[in-house]
Symmetry: C2
Subunit: 432 residues, 2 copies
């Protein structure tokens, strides 16, 4: 199956690719590393052109998906792959806020993102749209799980062939949630960093579009929509403080880029936003560098329940580090036990079942609040990036069990007496 590139250069604000380190410029093709300095390439835009094109009204009358922000995304086609991705709820988390002693807490809930229930649907929708424009018929990725789900699903919808690479020890839900779409699935005996290295080699030898390797400049731009949506959902204002998980560090820096772009084109007023990052203690290379005051990252061997964050050698780690420092934010890490407790806390107070990555973020939020590093009055937005149904083993056996009864009233009454007293049923003990 060969895709036909649909190009309409005059309609797009893509001005090419540019090296983040030395500034060398490249055409907007499938390439991601600077030939001069080996720095990462990033998409460059003509912001004056974007500014002439966009308005709050135009965005609001667009589709209810990430594609309402198409003017800011690195695609040219008038028909991007749109399966309803994005525009997830920004929930005012009053019960969690009360528990933590905060006043203005919001959850950006990508645990219900479409179609595969993680923020990866954003980056993959952009990457596969661009892959089709560039003529790729086979797409691929190196994944800790969520990206595999998303690439396989959206490739299936778009009719693109798909080959996905994962570490062999992934959670069952993430393996099955990829296989169901019938891609070629390669389970690699190694950690994510080894999978990623292998994929770089494959990208060089096969003509495939790897969403997070040779298509990475386009792919990573999809995360900016997490910033745009929050700004729009806060009635065209920026928050005071953002708390987000750190794996490669890309999402974190792209949220910042999204906010800056909205300021640049005049959609929101300028404002200082603090950026705080969350890592698991079992994979905390960025948090360690932050705490030790270093400006370089020492890779680690991941060992944490938060497998979707288990990147020991984070590609955008130094940029995440810089960002937390320059915005007066923090980077914290939390234990596996704190992660599980935070997953339960979020579910019990807000009805949101997140995966271990979300537990990491909520546990970090809690730790930062307790340390006085987030003030009660700050408008704080916490990014929840994936769904708990994919990492069921993490909480299995740690959330109690049903009370088994016979289908008779007496059996029920007896069980109810053994349960918590009625006036303590449910969530109140958590809030006490």
């Amino acid at each position: 199956m060969t895709a036909t590139p649909v190009l309409s250069a005059s309609l797009t604000a893509i001005a090419g690719l540019r090296c983040k380190e030395c500034g060398t410029e490249y055409a907007a093709q499938a390439t991601h590393v600077c030939e001069m300095c080996f720095g990462p390439l990033e998409v460059k835009y003509d912001y004056a052109k974007i500014k002439r094109n966009v308005s709050r009204e135009k965005i609001q009358s667009g589709p209810h998906s990430i594609w309402r922000y198409k003017d800011f995304l690195p695609v040219e086609s008038d028909h991007p792959i749109d399966v309803g991705t994005g525009m997830t709820p920004l929930i005012k988390a009053n019960r969690l806020a009360q528990h933590l002693g905060l006043k203005n807490l919001y959850i950006k809930n990508d645990a219900v993102n479409m179609p595969t229930l993680s923020f990866k649907d954003r980056v993959v929708s952009v990457a596969l749209t661009r892959a089709r424009e560039l003529g790729f018929s086979t797409v691929s990725c190196a994944s800790t799980g969520n990206l595999a789900n998303s690439t396989a699903a959206i490739a299936a919808h778009a009719g693109l062939d798909c080959c996905v690479f994962i570490p062999a020890d992934l959670e069952a839900g993430k393996v099955l949630g990829t296989l169901i779409y019938n891609p070629t699935l390669m389970a690699v005996n190694g950690n994510y960093d080894q999978v990623n290295r292998l994929c770089s080699e494959v990208a060089n030898t096969h003509g495939w579009g790897f969403v997070n390797i040779n298509l990475r400049p386009y792919y990573s731009e999809g995360s900016k929509t997490l910033a745009y949506e929050v700004a729009e959902q806060l009635d065209w204002q920026l928050p005071d403080h953002v708390v987000a998980p750190l794996a490669s560090g890309s999402l974190f820096t792209k949220i910042y880029k999204g906010f800056r772009e909205f300021v640049e084109v005049g959609l929101v007023e300028d404002k200082a936003v603090r950026f705080s990052g969350a890592q698991a203690a079992g994979c905390n290379p960025i948090a360690t560098a932050f705490k030790q005051g270093r400006d370089f990252i020492t890779p680690v061997k991941p060992d944490t329940v938060a497998k979707s964050l288990a990147i020991g050698n984070p590609a955008d780690g130094v940029y995440a580090l810089e960002l937390a420092r320059k915005t007066n934010g923090n980077i914290e890490d939390v234990t596996d036990a704190e992660i599980i407790d935070a997953m339960k806390l979020l579910a019990e107070t807000e009805g949101i079942f997140t995966e271990t990555a979300g537990g990491t973020t909520i546990a970090t939020l809690k730790k930062l609040v307790e340390a006085g590093k987030i003030s009660p009055d700050e408008t704080t937005v916490v990014y929840i990036t994936g769904n708990g149904l994919k990492t069921q083993e993490a909480v299995h056996g740690k959330i109690g069990a049903p009370l088994t009864i016979e289908p008779q009233l007496e059996s029920f009454e007896q069980a109810l007496k053994q349960a918590q007293p009625l006036d303590q049923l449910g969530k109140q003990p958590v809030l006490a």
Copy 2:
């Protein structure tokens, strides 16, 4: 915790409850059975009042959730419980359509409904909003799984105490996806019909709001939003044919009611819509009655992989039966093997991972098309009602396995040779 009822009778079009059988009228309280004839009660509206209140523009400028249709829903509060439920994508399913030989096929995808990934979030959002208005502080339900997830999650968000009843043999994902919200969870040694009977007794002896028993008249109205959204998403037109799953039969009849209401108040033009229903062969009381030309339902003992549809004695079965007949539709049943195959087909062609109930609906669609009972030209909308991550055991071992490799290029190349040839990678064999 006691909720304060917020009543504003003058703002609502609720005119009370009315018996579906004998027409006796009641006040809009927590009651569901007619004292005269034991018929089911339904909410009665003042449609003239609704007609004066609504317009396409008003709806479009409302929230992006079921609450944009609040004028048609049986609640009085200006602040309904809104966690982003509803407005799920209506996907033009071109690849599945091509496979089946259809031209205008749409999937209404409630596998990504918020917050708990099934259509039940619609009915529970309405029921718990009404429960709060009526002063209930503890809410409950009898569930085949999805309803348990939804009631526990939305009760947690709203701060309501919650006690949930399920059959003890449910899928692990549905049990865990309830426990995480920390309700009191009663697992009953029996099938759904036994659970339901027990709950009716508990509803009589405890002052709890059972969403699908004493609050059922309000609860069931939430399903009408599946009709409103499709009509709006089809640019304010009705489809030609609807295919939906049948458990109690309630959803099926409420989609019809929703379409009729939109016609009644002038939001869409009148049109004949055919209604076809889907059941599993292992729990097919309505399909059997349809095929045998009977106008009564003989209860069955369920034995099917589609546990969320396993209601052997469906409360609204006769109404579903009547509806399929009077609209020139059909009711079909499919085997467990056909259900699994259809889950895979939907995933491979459209990137949608549905639970067994959705497999039942797609398998039924296929069967009806093959039998010439759906014409290629009909605009057909298929309702997918839940997510595949909740019923993983159904497909476990039936969707292949990953190719396990070492993190070296040679190992990958070797595995790739053993896999399907590149030009057959992915989805093309399915479409051949």
